[in-house]
Symmetry: C2
Amino acid sequence: VLPRRLDEVVRLLTRLPGVGEKTAMRYALRLVGDPTLARDLGQHLQQLPDRVRPCERCCNLAEIADDGRFLCTVCLDTRRDLKVLCVVAKVQDLMAIERSGAHRGRYFVLGRLLSPLDGVGPEELPLGALLRRIEEDEAEEIIVATPPSVDGEATALLVAREVAKLSIRVSRIASGVPHGGDLEFADQVTLGRAIDGRRQFD
Amino acid sequence: VLPRRLDEVVRLLTRLPGVGEKTAMRYALRLVGDPTLARDLGQHLQQLPDRVRPCERCCNLAEIADDGRFLCTVCLDTRRDLKVLCVVAKVQDLMAIERSGAHRGRYFVLGRLLSPLDGVGPEELPLGALLRRIEEDEAEEIIVATPPSVDGEATALLVAREVAKLSIRVSRIASGVPHGGDLEFADQVTLGRAIDGRRQFD
């Protein structure tokens, strides 16, 4: 019964995380009923891939600059402490730590965790880029803030082993974040404690 | 920390029904990570308002035809029984009844229900358009399939009173659909029973 073009919109919307056909249909009908919203969102989404990309330095999300480069607000902020680099799994985790205000240094976003079951091995992680970043910034301490899950811990150990080659301090956030939990959804106090209570790899 | 353009996308996404800031953020990050999806969805959404609009005859959703007119697939289907017209509150309800296969006639979508608390009075409903539709189709029976809620029943009575002026049969779907429920989410058997068990206004 539905117009083919609306069906297509529904099909595309179901590719968003956690969106089934019924939810996609509700979204689509809302968009049909609000032409301004549909046009605005459509225009923004079309421009998104050309304007928002991973930061060249840390893989956080960055907006294109006048010179065509992608550098995130954290990397552009000269008041940041270059000595401390915080390694996170994903951009949401970086945002959560920023909200806690407990870290004043910079970040490196791995983009994924080691996951043998999903076929993600060490070679899939951007460890080379991480080491280059550490050397360029002349960082003195690495805080590994991957989540306290099996994959997160394995990734933390791998990062610690790689960084050990450079003979600099590596620490792991404290287990203030509950085991198996997600940094993205931890409260600010918990995240602040996790950062404050970090312990060195021995 | 977020790029301004991504913030804007998040803001627009929160205007979708039931989408809060966290969900909008998840959607936005998925879209940043999938440029093809962002571009495709963006293009479709931009074109949506010009290509999908309410059907000129019944207010069901319709795709633009080569002649620039908007007529839905139900209204274009010449095998439909013009004698029976089903009045529904919204397009989702029409789709649910179509899935049940219990109605072979056409539809009229009111777009809203009487709702004194929200300031929706009889003059906000397209009753004139409904009466014109009935006369043009020379319909012989009107099935009022508004939901069995307070607003739905009030709307059904209003529609019945208006249609009574034309001296044609008006029926109400049976209460196979549970009171206070939503047609959109009723199963096909329930909706089929509701259509079969309709009773005439007396």
